[in-house]
């Protein structure tokens, strides 16, 4: 970020005022208090550069979905302009609720330790209403359940020792979700990568990627986490390991939000941070590994393109991998925002917007009635499961289920 000069980075100068971004903003459609990406982004920025008093607190409604950026024909990073403005100018201090939602790793640590109690409690109606009343966390929301054993714990006990046996190694950024809520996803990744001949290592002291802290205004805390993560990633890369993640949002945050919003340069390692599906797709394409699938596997899958994977342009890796599975019936979904946007939809004041944005997607999913919706983003998963009752799985988990593990290990010369 160009902090020292009064110039906005993020392609601000390139805006031709064509209004294309306004067509693709999911928030404008449901919330007239949001000024829209053009006004909140480049137009507002020009006035903020004149005087900070032109900052408009309504920028808080931005979902940070970046769909405006995907649509922009002039490479203006509209979403980044808006988020950077929030960081720079917002006088709104985070509420207790925001702090709770943002500290996904701290909450996770506490919750997994007492998972059964926490899960049961979070589902209790009175508790939900108390959370609604006291914390303004919408009572419609079901908190993601916490696992009783963290992925990291499982890994150390069950997997770590065996990993060195594999000829090639990667590092896994599991993120808070795989660690606290869905260790199975991590286990699935270990299973698939092992079968392909890759040992899986964890990063040294992984922290939350910081996405929730950034969007809740806890930028300094996010920066601390980010620095820690970058140094762990640098260490892994120096030791010859690529870093893979199963969450599209974590991947996006580390690759793009670190430099654009937190001002942390990652040029030296950015290309070594990948989504697991992209990593595996490349192995297959470059004929460095083979996948063999079970003959009896059948599944009707609809793939939902999460906003941040849309921004990275990487859904093609997940969909291509899934479509390699012979037993899959493929049900395409139009790429659109589901409305949750991380912790955004958990807040009571946003609940209605959140549901209105996702409405058409939910309808379509209900019409298609797939066995499972697949997506690379965990918060999309919660939103879609809550709003449609259709189960949602990460592509890696589907891959793991469909995999003929024995045959794959054999095809890749793994003992």
């Amino acid at each position: 970020m160009n902090k020292h000069n009064n110039i906005s980075p993020n392609g601000f100068e390139q805006c031709i005022k064509c209004t294309i971004c306004t067509v693709y903003c999911p928030m404008t459609a449901v919330n007239p208090d949001y000024p829209g990406p053009k006004q909140a982004g480049p137009d507002g920025e020009r006035y903020r550069l004149k005087k900070p008093l032109f900052y408009d607190e309504a920028l808080k409604y931005c979902l940070n979905c970046k769909r405006c950026e995907v649509a922009c024909p002039s490479n203006v990073r509209i979403g980044d302009i808006i988020q950077a403005a929030r960081i720079k100018y917002s006088k709104h201090s985070p509420k207790l609720r925001d702090v709770i939602l943002a500290n996904t790793d701290f909450m996770g640590t506490v919750a997994t330790t007492m998972a059964p109690i926490v899960n049961a409690t979070l589902r209790l109606k009175p508790v939900k209403h108390v959370m609604d009343a006291v914390l303004a966390i919408d009572h419609h929301r079901t908190f993601p359940s916490y696992a009783s054993q963290r992925f990291e714990t499982w890994y150390r006990k069950e997997a770590a020792a065996k990993q060195a046996e594999y000829p090639k190694q990667v590092s896994y950024f599991h993120g808070c979700y795989a660690n606290y809520n869905n260790p199975q996803l991590g286990k699935d990744l270990v299973k698939v990568l092992n079968a392909l001949g890759y040992g899986v290592q964890l990063l040294e002291k992984e922290r939350c990627c910081g996405v929730a802290k950034i969007s809740n205004g806890l930028v300094e805390a996010a920066r601390r986490d980010a620095k820690r993560n970058l140094s762990a990633i640098r260490q892994a890369v120096a030791e010859g390991r690529e870093v893979v993640a199963t969450s599209s949002t974590c991947t996006f945050t580390i690759r793009d939000e670190y430099p654009h919003l937190l001002g942390l340069e990652n040029d030296d390692v950015r290309s070594q941070i990948s989504l697991a599906t992209r990593f595996i797709y490349r192995l297959i394409e470059e004929r460095k590994a083979k996948l063999v699938f079970r003959k009896d596997f059948r599944l009707r899958v609809a793939y939902h393109t999460a906003c941040h994977i849309e921004r990275m342009g990487w859904s093609i890796y997940s969909t291509s991998l899934l479509r390699m599975i012979p037993g899959i019936e493929w049900l395409p979904l139009e790429s659109q925002c589901c409305g949750i946007a991380g912790t955004y939809g958990f807040k009571r004041e946003n609940y209605n917007f959140s549901q209105a944005i996702g409405e058409k997607l939910f309808q379509r999913i209900k019409e298609l009635n797939p066995d499972v919706v697949s997506t690379d983003c965990e918060t999309c998963k919660w939103q879609i499961e809550m709003s449609t009752s259709v189960p949602v799985e990460n592509p890696i988990s589907i891959l793991a289920r469909a995999l003929d593990e024995e045959a794959t290990r054999e095809a890749n010369g793994v003992k």
Binding site: I20, V23, A29, P32, Y34, P35, Q39, S74, E285
Partner: protein, 408 residues
């Protein structure tokens, strides 16, 4: 990633090439740096606006014009094919290659057109309208449509009109925003009950008018709502284009790109191709911002990145370049030669574009790239606005190049 053909640019020409290739069974990827200029389309396409019978007029264009490279017969052939492909994709158009029709503009002018979307009422003649008395309707607070100019234009042609401003409580919500009362946002609301309310309001106001002229603010993702409204209103509705973003234009873009994907094409948007790897005069692969070292390999490539607006061409302070491959560009050397001082005079920069051989293969240092083709507005020698050739050049060159690739 490996494809039969990779197309750079996802606007009208890129999509038409992609659709033609994909329906012939090719594996095709389109890489597009954001949404295209179709978003500002009037909703009508022009083949050649300079003559009543476009194919006759084309013969008068200069030798370096893309149409002259195609020849009139091919232009006619691919123009016909364009209309068929659009229909197949789900876009109904009226109009013919043999003779232009006319359309009314948002400021009350009349312009020639080749194909018009079903929203519009094609006019037989530029100086006589099919009505004696019409209602010009606008939505309250919508600033990108100009009833008084439309009325004046109607009056010029001897048509009486009255102006009605419709206010719908359901749109109040949108009007709360100071900027977002835009055509596309209105279209997202004008469905179902709200659409019925609009129909009622129009029926109340129509009086003895024979038709209603109103801004094209209905039917963003499909033309369903547009037809529904027509059914519910007692007289014909003639929609008129608006200032951006254009609802019929966005719909065309979305319909074409989803048809392309239905045909198995990969539509990768929000990505920029940054360079190519050439071997022995062939383009072997291209590299993009999003996919980094996962390169796109293909037998053939098409560049459909458009003109200056879409950054297919970039003007630096002292030269004009094609930014991805550094292809040869036809342009004047001196900055002062790029423009005319009168905005409405012929602007030299408008005709700048890629130098190409008779098969639209662009060149580097005068040598054509064997498997790279250029289509649409990035081609040199056209003056799309002045000649009224934008849509026609985009689609006919696109379909011709697709045939060249399929017949290789």
């Amino acid at each position: 990633m490996r494809y039969d053909t990779v197309i750079i640019g996802g606007g009208l020409s890129g999509l038409m090439s992609g659709i033609a290739l994909a329906r012939a069974g090719q594996q095709v990827a389109i890489i597009s740096a954001g949404q295209s200029a179709l978003h500002f389309s009037s909703g009508s396409f022009e083949l050649y606006g300079g003559a009543e019978h476009p194919l006759e007029g084309i013969a008068t264009l200069p030798a370096e014009h893309p149409y002259q490279k195609l020849g009139v017969e091919r232009v006619a052939h691919y123009a016909e094919q364009t209309q068929e492909l659009l229909r197949e994709a789900g876009i109904q158009t009226t109009g013919s290659t043999a003779r232009n029709h006319y359309r009314f503009t948002p400021i009350g002018m009349v312009k020639p057109a080749w194909l018009s979307l079903a929203d519009y009422t094609p006019l037989e003649s530029a100086d006589a309208l099919p009505w004696r008395r019409v209602l010009v309707a606008n939505l309250e607070g919508y600033l990108d449509f100009f009833p008084s100019f439309v009325s004046a234009g109607l009056a010029r042609l001897g048509v009486e009109s009255s102006v009605a401003t419709i206010s719908l409580p359901q749109l109040e919500h949108l009007r709360k925003s100071t900027t977002e009362m835009r055509a596309t946002n209105i279209a997202r609301i004008l469905e179902g009950d709200v659409l019925r309310a609009l129909a009622e309001a129009l029926n109340e106001r129509v009086g003895d008018a024979e038709a209603i002229l109103m801004p094209a603010v209905v039917g963003l993702k499909s033309d369903k709502a547009m037809f529904e409204l027509r059914e519910q209103v007692s007289v014909p509705i003639c929609f008129l284009p608006t200032m951006p973003a254009s609802v019929p234009g966005v719909r065309t873009q979305l319909t074409l790109s989803s048809y392309f994907q239905q045909l198995g094409g990969a539509y990768l948007i929000g990505d920029n191709v940054v360079r190519g790897n050439f071997e022995d005069g062939r383009l072997v692969s291209v590299r993009s911002n999003n996919h980094e070292d996962v390169e796109f390999r293909a037998d053939n490539f098409i560049i459909a990145t458009g003109s200056f607006f879409s950054h297919g061409l970039v003007a630096e302070t002292n030269r004009i370049v094609e930014p991805i491959f550094g292809l040869d560009v036809e342009a004047d050397e001196q900055r002062t030669q790029w423009y005319a001082k009168d905005l409405y005079a012929r602007q030299p920069y408008m005709s700048y574009g890629l130098r190409s051989d008779d098969r639209f293969r662009p060149m580097i240092e005068g040598r054509p790239i064997e498997n790279l083709y250029a289509v649409g507005s990035i081609l040199a020698g056209q003056r799309a606005i002045e000649e009224g050739t934008g849509g026609g050049v985009a689609t006919t060159t696109a379909l011709y190049v697709a045939d060249l690739i399929l017949n290789r």
